[in-house]
């Protein structure tokens, strides 16, 4: 469902992502780990078409994000770490706006949109301006709007910021349930315990290069000693900051 070929990004002389080759199957929950500045967000932005690769290609559902951006974007949803939304719209208006961008029918917005607002516990504040929302509420609205067009791929950049434990649990379970229904999740996170718990496969990126790729047991087996994913991660990235 997600495939990258030699995906590379340079910012001037700085190599942010180098020759990334990935293949992620439909229904897979993939976690992308790496220290700060490793190239996770740059990779995500290239996958979503927000950054142009210097070299290489990225395919979403078989569509090249550069050559067929509209087809690729129809099947992808993205949840950024800092959800900048339109402050002067209400939550419900924002959902309608997103529905308009994806050419969704009004009836679908009325039904499924309301259902998502309910699922993400936003219905009671749906008519308040977003500027009055807490960070967690904005994050939940970002999730709700992301699923409105029923994406086949969801790219999530550090989704836990601002969410309380209850909502972290909810989002985690929701994403896992959706992957069982065929959704592909590409998630970048620093919360290694969650990655260990829910990821089907893990990729570790460091200084722009993909160091390791495999299931959690496979990654753990790479370390000299046994321990949690966090211990293994720190060893593999040579003690760099998480």
């Amino acid at each position: 469902m997600i495939r990258t070929e030699n995906l590379t990004k340079r910012f001037g002389s700085k190599l942010a992502v180098a020759n990334l080759d990935l293949e992620i199957a439909a229904g897979e929950f993939f976690c992308f780990l790496g220290p700060n500045g490793a190239g996770k967000t740059t990779t995500i932005k290239m996958l979503t078409g927000l950054l142009h690769p210097t070299e290489g290609r990225a395919f979403l559902g078989g569509h090249d994000i550069r050559k067929e951006p509209l087809q690729a974007k129809r099947i992808i949803g993205y949840i950024p770490d800092s959800p900048f939304l339109y402050e002067k719209l209400t939550g419900r208006e924002f959902m309608r706006f997103v529905a308009g961008l994806y050419h969704l029918e009004d009836g679908r917005v009325a039904e499924y949109g309301e259902e998502l607002l309910e699922i993400f516990e936003l219905r009671s504040v749906a008519d308040d301006l977003i500027e009055d929302y807490s960070h967690g509420m904005r994050q939940k609205l970002s999730f709700a709007s992301c699923f409105l067009h029923d994406p086949k791929i969801v790219v999530v950049d550090e989704p836990w910021v601002g969410l309380d434990p209850k909502n972290i649990r909810f989002v985690k379970d929701y994403l896992k349930t959706r992957t069982r229904e065929g959704l592909t999740v590409f998630m970048s996170t620093h919360t290694l315990s969650i990655a260990e718990e829910i990821a089907d496969r893990i990729g570790i990126i460091h200084n722009g290069k993909l160091l390791h790729l495999g299931t959690v047991p496979e990654i753990k087996a790479l370390a000299d000693r046994t321990g949690s994913l966090e211990d293994v991660f720190l060893e593999l990235t040579q003690g760099d900051e998480v």
Binding site: T48, L104, L129, D132
Partner: protein
């Protein structure tokens, strides 16, 4: 290091980095903007100089040796200008200090530090002064230079003008901030829109008062000078700081140093007193106001549901998506941003004043020469209002997507559709106002059919040209880091857009003025040759408008497609 010095140093470093970042901008862009900005400044200087020289000649004897009434009128006009600017500065400082003191994220950060509210206020106060007064320095300097040049003022005149400028802008800034501090404390639940509404009401009352005391019809009386002096006598009150300023600066020009120093000290001491008073007030009530505003009740759901904006979905049903979604979103964001629509209302005020004054002009001029000129000036006025609308409200449209651009960037939406949505939205909304204005003003002036048709056509076609320029340049030079449209507009791209818009209007209005004036002057051999020249002018205007639409839009779109977010 004191806290104030630490904040000031950080601000200076930010300013230095901002200036240094100009080096990374396109050299062509920087050169064009610099040349245009200097050209505008120079143009203002010559305009003021010509105006002052005309006034100085007014009433002088033939040899020009005697001092005419022009110098008296000129002095009085400076007094009127200084007073008007003084009140405008108070009003703008009320708005600026609200966003600087109560809406800025920097304040929330500073409040974490062990910093007194007095110090915090003073630190932010300098920013208020800078934001509200830079334009005055830019446009006031050619005025002062032109006055000095025309009257042959000595060097001390220029020195005193610079010296007086500082307390002159500080005093209204302190008064404006003080008003904001009190408003935020006394009316903690007062919305920004209500504050602005109060402010505008005050300005309106002031305007009505002036209108009554300075009736336009009195200018046409034979007793022009006594009438003028009488109606502007209130600007000469010894209680007005603006009067101290003009009196002091003019005293320097007349080498009356004692009077100049007295007025300078009077103004400075009052400015310092006002700053002290505002700082002490801030120490006592700022935090309570800030806290009340930050914790105001979030009960706007019912109000939002009842507002006319709730019917937008139904009204725009005919539009296809995603254009409909984008249009609805743009309109909602615009009307919920008080700083946006309040300025829009001010434009309505300007249009209303213009239309109200047309009554004084209609039917007054029977000569073809003047009727032709009035028709051309009317086109100029309508298109200038249009250019101001597009520069202020249309140019920032793409930039205002700001850090939310990821939402659009991810959507299955080509940027071409996005740019054209902004363009058509601009054409539709500005046309509704300006074409209406052209028809109304043309009717009120009783223009001949040919002048009337030309006026309306010019305004229609310039709607396309100016919208194309504003959307195109707004896309070519977007500022996604800034949420404040006023700051987006005052950037380099916004300045370039305004200058090019003025240049475009000048060519449009100039072309038809030339054709119409030649007719009045009898330079055409026949009606046929006049109509031929008119057709050429129309083709030229149309061609120019197409170029102004297509090129900026193409360049902007190319830039957006290349951009990374």
């Amino acid at each position: 290091m004191s806290q104030l010095a630490a904040v000031a140093r950080a601000k200076l470093q930010i300013a230095r980095h901002s200036i240094a970042s100009v080096q990374t901008e396109s050299k062509l862009k920087v050169s064009v903007i610099s040349v245009c900005a200097f050209g505008l400044w120079l143009g203002a200087f010559f305009l003021f100089k010509e105006g002052f020289e005309f006034l100085m000649r007014f009433g002088a004897d033939v040899s020009g040796s005697a001092r005419g009434i022009g110098s008296i009128v000129l002095t009085r006009m400076l007094g009127v200008l200084a007073l008007a600017v003084f009140f405008m500065l108070i009003f703008s400082n009320v708005l600026v200090s609200f966003s600087t003191l109560y809406r800025s994220r920097e304040v929330a950060y500073l409040l974490h530090a062990p910093i007194s509210f007095r110090t915090l206020f003073v630190a932010r106060f300098f920013e208020c002064i800078a934001f509200s007064s830079w334009a005055l320095a830019y446009l006031g300097s050619p005025l002062i230079l032109a006055y000095g040049y025309t009257t042959g003022a000595p060097l001390i005149f220029y020195v005193s003008a610079i010296m007086f400028f500082v307390p002159y802008i500080t005093l209204p800034a302190a008064i404006g901030s003080l008003v904001t501090l009190v408003l935020a404390r006394v009316f903690p639940r007062l919305r920004m829109s209500t504050i602005i509404l109060f402010g505008m009401l005050a300005v309106l009352l002031l305007f009505v008062y002036w209108k009554q005391s300075m009736g336009v019809n009195r200018l046409s009386e034979d007793t022009f000078l006594p009438a003028l002096l009488d109606m502007t006598s209130q600007t000469q009150s010894p209680l007005l700081p603006s009067y101290w300023t003009t009196r002091g600066v003019l005293a320097a020009a007349a080498r009356s140093y004692g009077e100049c120093i007295f007025d300078f000290l009077l103004l400075t001491s009052n400015a310092l007193m006002a700053v002290w008073l505002a700082a002490e007030t801030a120490q006592r009530i700022f935090y309570m106001g800030w806290s009340s505003l930050a914790g105001r009740e979030r009960g706007r759901a019912k109000w939002l549901g009842r507002s006319p904006l709730a019917y937008l979905d139904g009204l725009l049903k005919a539009l296809p998506n995603p254009e409909r979604a984008l249009v609805i979103k743009d309109i909602r964001l615009f009307w919920r941003d008080a700083t946006q629509w309040s300025q829009f209302v001010i434009f309505f005020g300007i249009m209303a004043v213009y239309i109200a004054n047309l009554r004084n002009m209609s039917g007054r001029y029977q000569q073809d020469f003047w009727r032709s000129w009035i028709a051309c000036l009317n086109i100029g006025a309508c298109t200038l209002i249009l250019a101001t609308l597009t520069s202020r409200f249309v140019f920032p449209l793409v930039s205002l997507e700001g850090r939310r651009f990821w939402i659009l960037g991810l959507a299955p939406l080509s940027f071409r559709r996005l740019v054209f949505q902004k363009f058509w939205l601009s054409v539709a909304t500005t046309s509704a106002f300006t074409v209406g204005l052209a028809i109304l003003s043309g009717s009120m002036l009783g223009l001949e059919p040919i002048y009337f048709a030309l006026s309306v056509y010019s305004v229609i076609i310039t709607n396309f040209g100016l919208s194309g320029l504003a959307v195109g340049l707004g896309t070519l030079y977007p500022n996604f880091q800034e949420d404040n449209p006023a700051r987006i507009v005052s950037g380099m791209g916004g300045t370039l857009n305004f200058l090019l818009s003025v240049g475009y209007i000048t060519l449009v209005v100039g072309a038809q003025t030339m054709i119409l004036q030649w007719r009045v002057l009898g330079l055409y051999t026949s009606d046929a040759s006049f109509y031929m020249a008119l057709a050429i002018a129309v083709v030229f205007i149309t061609g120019l408008s197409i170029v102004s639409t297509v090129i900026p839009l193409s360049l902007g779109l190319r830039n957006l497609n290349r951009m990374e977010f």
